[in-house]
């Protein structure tokens, strides 16, 4: 018998777009409800992290960015890499746990499951944009006014979003059934962070380990951030081709997986 049902789990999310926007607003509001500094925390966390790293590495370990005379160059380099990485890891970690966070709603409201990761991505993207605006101010104060090269951040952010969404959604589906996935991904992301030239420059990687950086799909995208913010150079956008293709492929794979798994997922939440 042809199965015809009212099941809404894997349907077009477009009719629910306004709900997604409102839910993102709710997420942002909830994050800062009852805090005095409110949305300022969005900026303070990543900036503080970059400043701490900068202090430790440039003042204590005397790291300097080769070829750039400004003493602040390393700080900006750190902030650039961390901003890019932050978007990727935020989208990824949110996507891994978001179905569990919205379990109550998924079980009771007939809603396309595709809306739920969209809420996570939207929230992460909002934080990222706020951070970039703050960084434009900070870098201006440090003597390097943002140029047109910053426009390259738009495609770069899109690629990071796709990669984080694809990987996060695949893992997020499995995480509903095996909660170890979310725990494990925390460790994997730390390792991945240190394998990406964010805190150090790629030149210092020994020859025999260069292939790790070459293989890392995040690295070319992070480099776009660093090129634009530190060197003000137009990045070679063709380096984004491979990460973009990978991001699209992973996102499509994630949607196919969600389609197969969505019914089981609701039953297990």
């Amino acid at each position: 018998m042809e199965a015809k049902t009212t099941y809404r789990g894997f349907t077009n999310p477009w009719p629910h777009r306004r709900f997604v926007v409102q839910a993102i607003r709710g997420e942002i509001k909830r994050q800062f409800a009852r805090s005095t500094l409110g949305a300022l925390w969005l900026i303070l966390h990543p900036l503080a992290r970059a400043v701490i790293f900068a202090l430790v590495f440039s003042e204590i370990l005397l790291a300097r960015l080769p070829g750039v005379p400004s003493p602040y160059a390393y700080t900006i380099y750190l902030m650039a890499g961390m901003a890019g990485w932050g978007l990727f890891s935020d989208v990824l970690t949110r996507s891994v746990t978001i179905f569990i966070e919205y379990a109550a709603m998924l079980k009771k409201a007939p809603i396309s499951h595709l809306c739920i990761p969209a809420i996570g991505c939207g929230g992460a993207l909002f934080s990222h944009v706020v951070l970039l605006v703050a960084m434009a101010l900070v870098t201006s104060l440090l003597g390097s006014v943002p140029g047109l090269a910053w426009l390259a951040l738009i495609p770069a952010a899109a690629v990071l979003l796709l990669l984080g969404f694809g990987i996060g959604l695949i893992l997020g589906v499995f995480n509903v059934f095996k909660r170890d996935v979310a725990q494990l991904i925390g460790i994997v992301l730390q390792l991945w962070f240190w394998l990406t030239p964010i805190v150090y420059v790629s030149d210092i990687i020994p020859k025999k380990y260069q292939w790790i950086a070459e293989f890392n799909p995040i690295w070319p995208v992070i480099r776009v951030y660093q090129d634009a913010m530190v060197y003000g150079t137009y990045p070679q956008l063709e380096t984004l081709a491979v990460p973009l293709a990978l991001g699209v492929a992973l996102s499509l794979a994630a949607l196919l997986l969600l389609r197969r798994a969505s019914s089981d997922m609701i039953d297990s939440l």
Binding site: K4, T5, T6, Y7, K107, K108, A109, R260, A261, S263
Partner: protein, 254 residues
């Protein structure tokens, strides 16, 4: 327009557990994997609901009432069978529990109105009526974490029934409201029915079902134990409860 609002045919819902979740993952890709345990929450449930009629679903805890409601509302996918609903469906499935506690009543209403597919202009138009129906005063503009369960239910019912749907699904949600609000909600349900809305109503309270439903289904262990006019099904169910009570008392005396 003789098409029934709701048609359920051979509906079955299976919950499966596997020895390892890896086996479950394998089934997604078409690989054969036998479940370790199967639980059939619903088996071979069929009925139709005509326009403007109301159907009550009764049965003990775990009889499959919630699964049936979720399958009709579209939040779970049936394992077998079909569910066809025509027109606008609104479900009040313990909706209150999914409100965002940090958002105000008004903001949550907006969130849910979007979820129900309303346009912004329509929401602005309906908001005063929703606020008036919920009757919770200034609390409507306070974060929902300050609400009592009854207040949540009031807002949930008010927003879900702001527009007259073609099919209204009502869960136990009304049982948490006070007598006054329950009465008011019943009246709205009856008004909707008179205007042509079909209603699916689930309750432990047989009186509610007997009062507002034309027909009823008695679910037992996921199967339809009886279906027919509401008064007859409720009487039979009530009798079965008395028998169960008597035998429990007899066992207690032994």
């Amino acid at each position: 327009m003789t098409e029934p609002t709701l048609r359920v045919e051979g509906l079955a819902k299976r919950y499966a557990t596997y020895r390892s979740e890896v086996l479950r993952f394998a089934t997604w890709f078409g690989l054969p994997a036998k479940p370790h345990k199967e639980f059939w929450a619903l088996q071979d449930v069929s009925f139709t609901l005509e326009r403007g009629h109301s159907l009550g679903i009764i049965g003990a805890n775990g009889a499959g009432k919630s699964s049936l409601l979720k399958a009709i509302a579209g939040t779970i996918q049936p394992t077998r069978g079909r569910v066809e609903a025509h027109g606008l469906t609104a479900a009040v499935l313990e909706l209150g529990l999914t409100f965002d506690p940090e958002l105000t009543g008004s903001e949550n209403v907006e969130l849910y109105a979007h979820l129900l597919g309303m346009e912004p202009a329509q929401i602005r138009e309906l908001e005063p009526a929703i606020r008036a129906f919920a009757e919770i005063g200034d609390a409507f503009d306070e974060p929902m974490r300050t609400y009592s369960t009854g207040m949540l239910a009031r807002v949930a019912f008010a927003v879900a029934t702001a527009r007259r749907p073609d099919l209204l699904i009502v869960d136990e949600v009304l049982s948490v409201g006070d007598g006054y609000f329950q009465n008011k909600s019943f009246n709205r349900i009856l008004e909707f029915r008179a205007a042509g809305t079909s209603i699916v109503f689930v309750s432990h309270g047989i009186e509610g079902v007997a009062a507002i439903c034309d027909s009823a289904i008695w679910l037992d262990g996921g199967k339809v134990a009886m279906v027919g006019p509401a008064s007859e099904v409720c009487d039979a169910y009530r009798a079965a409860i008395e028998v169960a009570k008597a035998s429990a008392a007899a066992i207690a005396q032994v």
